[in-house]
């Protein structure tokens, strides 16, 4: 069974901390994505990656960066966490030809 695994289900961090969210997929997918989900705003794309060491900004990249050193792993970095980054973060992967994306279980991040 295909799997996208996010390193934490729940995370509480302090304002100003550097936060790392890790995501690993076992499907040899080329594409990987980071979304955040907020009530009434749906799923908003933060960053995505087509290949190792490649990254593209999504719709809301401010305050975030990403790293993809290996094909199976895509990391989201909050450089200096702020309370408005409290959210549900979702990682996804898809094959180069699409169309279906597979999601991880999500990380509920609270910044206090």
């Amino acid at each position: 069974d295909v799997k996208v695994t996010q390193s934490s289900r729940y995370l509480v961090k302090r304002t100003g901390e550097k936060v790392f969210l890790e995501c690993v997929q076992d499907m040899d997918h080329e594409n990987m994505f980071w979304y955040r989900q907020d009530p009434g705003l749906g799923l908003r794309l933060i960053y995505f990656s087509y290949d190792v060491k490649m990254k593209e900004k999504g719709d809301i990249p401010e305050g975030y960066s990403v790293s993809r050193e290996k094909k199976e792993r895509f990391s989201l970095i909050l450089e200096s966490a702020s309370t408005n980054q409290t959210s549900m973060y979702l990682c996804a992967s898809s094959p180069r030809t699409g169309p279906r994306a597979f999601f991880g279980q999500g990380t509920r991040l609270t910044v206090v």
């Binding site: 996208v4 289900r9 594409n31 994505f33 979304y35 989900q37 009434g40 705003l41 749906g42 799923l43 908003r44 794309l45 995505f48 087509y50 593209e56 999504g58 549900m88 979702l90 996804a92 898809s94 180069r96 030809t97 699409g98 169309p99 279906r100 994306a101 597979f102 999601f103 991880g104 279980q105 999500g106 509920r108």
Partner: protein, 113 residues
Amino acid sequence: DQQVKQNSPSLSVQEGRISILNCDYTNSMFDYFLWYKKYPAEGPTFLISISSIKDKNEDGRFTVFLNKSAKHLSLHIVPSQPGDSAVYFCAAISLKGNNRLAFGKGNQVVVIP
């Protein structure tokens, strides 16, 4: 600018009846349309998809209808079950473009036993 729109944020339906979720899009270059289901504190799971060259796709209790001229699709769930209570996201993708899914804001469905 939102390319995929889901109006009527929430829907309540009696168990056994039909649930109909609607989705509108603006980009005529989309190749595929997908529906995802999401429970609280879990990631979205794929439900059903339809190619832009088709007008209907059915999988068990779930049917998706596509009206390209109206840039509109709908998801029908028949019969609705309590386990269908979730948030449903409509998504679309252009495989000739940047291969990223554009999502709507979601519809909350509550199925009343």
